[in-house]
C-alpha cells in the first residue's frame, strides 16, 4: 500500500504536519483491555450503582420497555446506518421516520412533525427560536414558570446567545394580556412540573390576538388521554419521547419531538421525511424540504441540527405500534390508578399537605411536614427512589404501570415510620 502511495512509512503520510505537533509522548490512557477485561471493568462500575425502584418522574419516566423494542432497534441495519442520504438503500430508516412523524401528528393533533430533536428541552429551545423566526420584528417569548426546571434552563441558554428576550412567569395569561410588547411566542406545559394537567382554555386566542404563537410542552405518553396541543389551539408542540418506551439510562439518549401547524412547516428545524414515488411509480420516502437545512443554507438554515436521535425515534415508533390506542389508554389508566392511590395514602399519613388543586395523571407533588432527608434516606435504604425534593421545597412522586400495590404500600409504611 505504501508503495502505491509512493511513501516509505506511515509516518511519511504526516510529513505535512509540523514536526512539533506530532505527539511524541505516551498517551495517558489505560493499557489496552481484552473483551473479557472490558466486561469485568464495567461490571465493577455497575456494582457501584444502586439499582432502585424509581418513583420519580420530573422529565424521565420509568415506564415498562417491551422486549420487542431493543430486539428491533439493535438490528444492525438500523443501528449502524448513517443519516439516510442515499434513499435507495435507506428505505428502512426513511419509512420508520415517516411513521414516527405520523404518530407524533396523531398524538399532538397537529399537521406535521420533524424527524426528531436531541431531547425535550432542546426541542423547547428550538421552538422558542422558531417563534421568533416566524413572527416579524418580535423578540420576546413568555415561558411558563411551571415548566420543568431543566426545560426552562435550556430555553434560557439558547435564548441568551440568540439575543431572545425570555420572560419566565407564573402568570402567563396576565403577562400575555398586558406585559410584553414584542411578543413572538408563549410556551406552557401540558402537564406541569407539579404533575398537574393544566387548562389552557382561552390562552391560544389571547396569544394569537397578540400576533404570537403558542407552544405546548407535552409528555407524549400522556397525550393519549389529556387534551392535545391542537385541542388547546397551540401552533407548535414539543416534548421528550422518553416516556414512549425509552429506558431511563441516566438521562440519555432520549429523543425530542416537534410538531406544528402546516403554515409553519417550512420553519421546522432538522430533518423531515416525505413520501414520493420512484421512476417506476413505486411509493418511496426521501429526506425533503432540505432547503431549510444547514448543509444547503449554511448560516441561513432554520437550525444547526444535523445528527438527531433517529434510532430513539424508532424506539418510540415500535413502542406506539405495540401499545396501540387501547394499550396507551390502559397504561394511563394504570398510572392514574396507582398515583391516586399513593397520593391519598401519603396524605393519610399526615406527613404531607396537599397544595395543588387540579387533576394529575402519574406524577404529583406534596408539601412535606416531615424530615424530608430522613424520609428519602429511609426510602433509599429500602430500595426506593421516591419523594425527591424539588427546588420549590415540595416532594414529588410518580407511579407508572411498572409498579405494584405491594411497593406502594411499602412506601407508605416507610413514610409512616419516620
Amino acid at each position: 500500500m505504501l508503495e502505491r502511495i509512493g511513501v516509505s512509512s506511515l509516518d511519511d503520510l504526516y510529513a505535512d504536519v509540523p514536526a512539533d505537533f506530532i505527539y511524541k509522548g505516551e498517551y495517558d490512557l489505560p493499557s489496552a483491555m481484552s473483551e473479557q477485561q472490558v466486561r469485568d471493568f464495567f461490571e465493577g462500575l455497575a456494582a457501584k450503582n444502586t439499582r432502585l425502584k424509581v418513583f420519580v418522574g420530573q422529565g424521565a419516566y420509568d415506564h415498562y420497555v417491551p422486549s420487542v423494542i431493543p430486539y428491533i432497534t439493535s438490528r444492525s441495519e438500523f443501528l449502524t446506518a448513517y443519516t439516510p442520504y442515499q434513499c435507495e438503500i435507506s428505505q428502512g430508516t426513511l419509512r420508520y421516520i415517516f411513521e414516527w412523524q405520523t404518530m407524533i401528528c396523531r398524538l399532538t393533533g397537529l399537521d406535521c412533525a420533524n424527524a426528531s430533536m436531541y431531547d425535550g428541552p432542546t426541542a423547547a429551545a428550538e421552538a422558542v427560536r422558531m417563534c421568533v423566526a416566524s413572527t416579524k420584528k418580535r423578540n420576546s417569548v413568555i415561558v411558563s414558570a411551571r415548566l420543568l426546571p431543566h426545560v426552562i434552563e435550556t430555553i434560557r441558554t439558547y435564548a441568551k446567545y440568540a439575543g431572545i428576550n425570555i420572560v419566565v412567569t407564573e402568570k402567563v395569561a396576565e403577562e400575555v394580556a398586558e406585559g410584553v410588547l414584542d411578543l413572538a411566542g408563549v410556551i406552557v406545559p401540558s402537564i406541569n412540573r407539579f404533575g398537574i394537567i393544566e387548562s389552557h382554555l382561552g390562552l391560544a386566542d389571547l396569544v394569537h390576538d397578540k400576533g404570537a404563537l403558542l407552544v405546548e410542552y407535552c409528555d407524549p405518553s400522556a397525550l393519549a388521554v389529556v387534551k392535545t396541543p391542537a385541542e388547546w389551539g397551540a401552533d407548535i408542540a414539543v416534548g421528550d419521547g422518553q416516556s414512549l418506551g425509552i429506558p431511563l439510562c441516566f438521562g440519555g439518549p432520549y429523543v425530542g419531538f416537534m410538531a406544528c401547524r402546516e403554515s409553519l412547516m417550512r420553519k421546522l428545524p432538522g430533518r423531515i421525511v416525505g413520501q414520493t414515488t420512484d421512476a417506476s411509480g413505486k411509493r418511496c420516502y426521501v429526506l425533503t424540504l432540505q432547503a431549510r437545512e444547514q448543509h444547503i443554507r449554511r448560516e441561513k438554515a432554520t437550525s444547526n441540527i444535523c445528527s438527531n436521535e433517529s434510532l430513539m425515534a424508532l424506539w418510540c415508533t415500535v413502542y406506539l405500534s405495540l401499545m396501540g390506542p387501547e394499550g396507551m389508554r390502559k397504561l394511563n389508566a394504570l398510572c392514574y390508578e396507582g398515583s391516586h392511590y399513593l397520593h391519598d395514602a401519603l396524605l393519610a399519613t399526615g406527613k404531607f399537605e396537599r397544595v395543588f388543586e387540579g387533576e394529575f395523571l402519574k406524577e404529583f407533588s406534596l408539601k412535606p411536614k416531615c424530615d424530608v432527608l430522613k424520609m428519602q434516606q429511609a426510602l433509599l435504604d429500602a430500595g426506593f427512589f421516591a419523594g425527591l425534593q424539588t427546588e420549590d421545597g415540595y416532594v414529588t412522586f410518580c407511579v407508572t404501570e411498572k409498579h405494584t400495590l405491594e411497593e406502594l404500600d411499602r412506601i407508605v409504611e416507610i413514610v409512616k415510620s419516620i
Binding site: 500500500m1 505504501l2 502505491r4 502511495i5 503520510l13 504536519v17 506530532i22 505527539y23 498517551y27 493499557s31 489496552a32 483491555m33 472490558v38 420519580v56 420530573q58 424521565a60 420509568d62 428491533i72 438490528r75 443501528l79 449502524t80 448513517y82 443519516t83 435507495e88 438503500i89 435507506s90 428505505q91 420508520y96 415517516f98 398524538l107 412533525a113 436531541y118 441558554t157 395569561a173 389552557h200 387534551k227 421528550d240 429506558p247 431511563l248 439518549p253 421525511v273 420512484d278 421512476a279 413505486k282 425533503t288 438554515a301 437550525s303 444547526n304 441540527i305 436521535e309 434510532l311 424508532l314 415500535v318 405500534s321 394504570l334 392514574y336 391519598d344 388543586e357 387540579g358 425527591l388
Partner: protein, 506 residues
Amino acid sequence: MKYYDKLIFELSKPGRIGYSLPDSFGLACEAVAQAGPCRPRLGRGGTTPVVGSEEIGFFCDPAKKTDSCDVAPGEQPRGKAGIWREASLDLPEVSEVDVVRHYTNLSQMNFGVDTGFYPLGSCTMKYNPKINEEIANMPAFTGLHPLQPESTTRGALEIYVGMDKALAAITGMKHFTFLPCAGAHGELTGLMLMREYHMSRGDLARTKVIVPDSAHGTNPASAAVCGLEIVVVKSRENGLVDVEALKPLLGPDIAGIMMTNPNTLGLFERDIKEIAKLVHDCGGLLYYDGANMNPLLGMVRPGDMGFDIMHLNLHKTFSTPHGGGGPGAGPVGVSDKVLPFLHIPRVSGFHGNFGIILRAYAYILMLGREHVKMAGKLATLGANYIKESLKDCYKLPIPTVCKHEFVFDGLLEDNGVTTLDVAKRLLDYGFHAPTIYFPLLFHQAIMIEPTETESLETLDAFIAVMRKIAEEAKADPEMLHGAPHCTPIGRPDETTAARQPILKYD
C-alpha cells in the same frame, strides 16, 4: 434487498393488540374501580374553566376534600373546558408478530456498516464493536434515573470522570462537558463558551466568527444559532486556508475562528501555527471542529496546535453507531483559558447521551494506549491508497498526500456522467456511496473516507468497482443515468416530494 411496501398503519386491524399490561393495581378504591377502562378520560372533570392556566396547579382550599379517590368520577364537561383528550387516538392496532415482521422487513431495505463498506466522507463510518452495545445495555446503567442521588450512581459518575481524563489525554484539552448530544450541538456549545469568555472580559464587540469556505455546513449554522455573524475566509488553490486573506479579516470584532483540521478536503492545515498566533494576537479564540479528528487520533492533539475549544463526535472517531442519524454525542473540551466557563451553558436536559458515552469509553479502553497510535495512521493509509489507485480515472483536484479523506471532482472522462450517477451506480455493486457534492469548492465533489477498520481486500474491491464504473461511463452513459438498478427502489422524484409535501400517512 427486497422491496417491501407496507406502512405499520396499513397492517392495522381493529381490536388486535401487541401490548402486555397488568389489568389494574387491584385497588378497592371506589372511584378508580367505577371508572372503567377509560378512567383517565373520565377523571374528575370539575376543574374550573378559566382563561389561561393561572387557576390550575395552584394552592387549593385546604378545607376542601383532598381525598381524590373519594370524588366520584363524572363525565368531563363538554367543549373546551375539560382537560381530557376528545379526539380519538388513531394508532395502529397490530399484534406483536406483526410489529416484529414489519420492522424486520423495513430493516432489510437498509444498508449499515455491518452490511458493507460505507466510505461516506466526513462521517467516519468505522466498525461499531458489539461489546460496546452489550456494555451500554447493562441494566445497572439503563435503569438509572438521571436525578438519583450521587451516592447511588457512583459507577456512572466514574465513567464521566474516566472519559474526561481519556479525552483530555487524546486531545490535549483540559476538561470536557458531556451535555452536547451531537457534533453540531457541540459546535453550538463551544461557540457559547467562546462568547462567555469574551463577555467575562467585557469584550462585547466580538460578534463575528471566521469560517473557512470549505467548512461543514453546521459551522456557519451553529454560529448563526449562537447569535454570531459569519465571515468567510477563502481557501487557496491548494485547498488550504489563505493566511493572507485571513489577516485583513482579523480585528476587535472577531470572536474567533472555526477550523476543521484536517479540513473537509482531507488536507492538514499546515499553517495552523501562524493562524493560531494571528487569531490569538487579535484577541480571538480557536475552535476545532472534531468531525475530522480520526486521522489525528494517536498522532496530533488539537490542544497542542493552539485550539482553545473543540468538540468530538463520539459517533465518528470513537466508534459508536450512527443509528440512522443519531443518537450521537458531541462532548466539548476546553483549554485552561476557557475552563472557568465550561459549566455555564445548559444545552440539554440531564447529563448528555450517557449511553453513547458508555460505548465510546468501552472503545477507548479496548484500544488502550498501545493501539491508539495506529488508528489515525491506518485511516490515513487507506484514504491515500484509494486516492492513488483511482486518480487515473477520477479528477483529483488536489494531488498532495491527504489524511483520512480526499475529494475527487467527478470522472476524468465524464461523457456526461455526473457524480450523482457514479454514486447511484455504486449502490448496485453493494457499496454505500461516498459523500457527494460536498465540499462546495468542487462542483462534482466525491468525498471518500474509508476508515481504519477496512481490510485491503475491501479497499481493492471498492477500487475495482470504481474503475468499472469509469469504464461504464465511457461505454454506456445512459445506463448510469438510470442507476441504481438493483436496489429496492429507483431514483425518487424529489421535486414533487418538496413541492407537494406528504409528511404523514392519512
